[in-house]
């Protein structure tokens, strides 16, 4: 009986202690996403892909088909060379921390390079990128919107694209940035027209909530031989209610248009 009383006393003490201080335990908090980069996101011949999360004990696994990695996926050991376009997905694991969110790296095959671009609207003065050919210079950008690889519009972006000769265009890929904290949103739609085809308009899904910064793209299927293309990219006119900037105009940032 005395022993039970003593144990009960310590059980009470132990419980009281727990409510006072709750020290963070293993597996309560997740790792940050691995940092992933490639020598270029547009493959001419090949690129080198690097992934890192510099924390002792971290292991990074990846897939090359867009699926979510597990510890049964390919293990990232060192930088590797890639020759083919695709979606690489990376995830970090650690014995003491929850696994990370995924990091996606999208690699694109180099497309047909236009001979000229003629703009009908202008980017904002502060975000003119490297000039009029920024979106066709075969350079993708990173997540920093201040990089000169981005052109930033606060209005609809309209341009005509010309090729040296008639080319078969399978599709057009428009790369854009999502950085909602900086009021940079996806376009609402992309409209493609030409004398040689009917107008095609693709709606881009809207964001319903905060999302991490991301490089995204919208692909417009064409399947025609064309000399020139008229491209209109519609900007979000009013930032949605869930955002601090609600009602204001959103920014549209684009890095590259790839003509497959």
């Amino acid at each position: 009986m005395r022993l039970i009383l003593i144990i009960s006393f310590f059980v009470v003490l132990g419980c009281t202690k727990k409510t006072e201080t709750r020290l963070l335990q293993e597996k309560e908090i997740a790792l940050a996403q691995p940092k992933v980069s490639s020598t270029s996101a547009i493959i001419d011949s090949s690129v080198v892909v690097t992934a890192a999360l510099k924390l002792d004990g971290v292991e990074i696994f990846y897939t090359d088909d867009g699926s979510e990695p597990t510890i049964g996926s390919m293990k990232y050991e060192k930088p590797f060379r890639s020759k083919s376009e695709g979606i690489y997905t990376f995830k970090a694991f650690h014995p003491s921390w929850k696994s990370s969110d995924i990091t996606i790296l999208k690699l694109y095959k180099k497309g047909i390079v236009p001979s000229n671009i003629e703009w009908h609207t202008s980017p904002n003065n502060a975000y003119e990128g490297l000039g009029t050919s920024t979106v066709i210079n075969q350079e993708k950008a990173g997540l920093n919107f201040r990089s000169k690889e981005w052109v930033g519009f606060d209005s609809t972006a309209v341009a005509d694209i010309y090729f040296k000769k008639k080319r078969f265009i399978e599709s057009i890929n428009i790369g854009y940035l999502v950085d909602v904290a900086s009021w940079i949103f996806p376009p609402t739609s992309v409209r493609i027209s030409s004398d040689e085809m009917d107008t095609i308009e693709i709606e881009v899904p809207r964001l319903n909530q905060q999302e991490p910064k991301a490089l995204r793209d919208v692909q417009v299927p064409i399947g025609k031989e064309l000399n020139s293309i008229h491209i209109e990219i519609m900007n979000l006119n009013a930032i949605p209610d869930w955002h601090d900037g609600k009602g204001n105009k959103a920014w549209l940032f684009m890095d590259e248009w790839i003509f497959k």
Partner: protein
Amino acid sequence: MSRRKFLKRSSCLALGLFAYPAYSSAFSLSRTEDVIIGHNSHQYKVDLSWGNLDPLRTPVQDCHEMVQDSKGRIVLLTNHTKNNVIIYDKSGKLLETWGTKYPGAHGLTLVKENGSDFLLITDYERHQIIKTTIDGKVIFVIDYPADTGKYESKEEFNPTETAVLENGDFYVADGYGKQHIIHYNYKGELLNYFGGRGKGDGQFLNAHGICYDDRDPKNRSLLISAREMNMLKRFNLNGDFMESIKVPGALICRPVIHKKDIYFAVLQSKNASNSDSGFVLIMNDKNEVVSCPGATAPLYKDNQLDELYQTVRLFQHPHDVCIDDDENMYVAQWNSGQTYPIKLTRV
């Protein structure tokens, strides 16, 4: 083993309880291990329960800054106007609150004068610096520094931080405004100004924090963070630029000197995809980064520090740190879902 665990185990051992098998399994403290963060000389356990209060009674908005007063109490400044100042003891117990008129409460500096504690508060919404007693009585209020000729209206002046010398002179960093550092005497009279917005040596992008560095009595100076530039800058007391200390990847808030080390809350990792990518950074007496709780281990190659970045999603947007007389640290966070500070217990 922490002191608390040691004492608990000692008392149990004294009663011979560990010899009883049923006790040892029933009293297993936890199935998992306490996490330890940080590097080298500065490693910590993380107390997520410290200072948590009833948000209906004692709410916080952003927890901007913290100091420890002469009585050892932990003073928190928040921009919630129900209670701008929340005072805890070191265990996290609420002692008192005051302040309802500081909507842009941001900078908090302890001033010790003739054995009494005072506070300097910067308020970027009021565009003012306010000196108060430790219990909230206003001593003086300073408006925007029109006499410098650099400001046309109060809205251009958005002060973020102050630093105080032994003689009562103080400096104000206009970190959300035009990036000037303004020097006043103890009465609040303008003496000098320097800095300003720009990328030059003596200029700032987001002069977010300032502190008085008296670690070397022969070369007393000012340390000022240029947060957007991922840099700490040193000036002499006349406002002449002396040096820059780069902290690649780290958006450092104010420098906090404790003994010979400098501690920083890092609001964000520069190149992270998530905004809530902050951590804590500690420099030694040589101004070398020695520990980054929540981030990569500091690594120097040819005297250049590798880019630092968050490795675990523990902190969101750390905005200030306070180191108490037990070497434990309190981390106040901006835009973290109205959470109370996190305590880091040094191990």
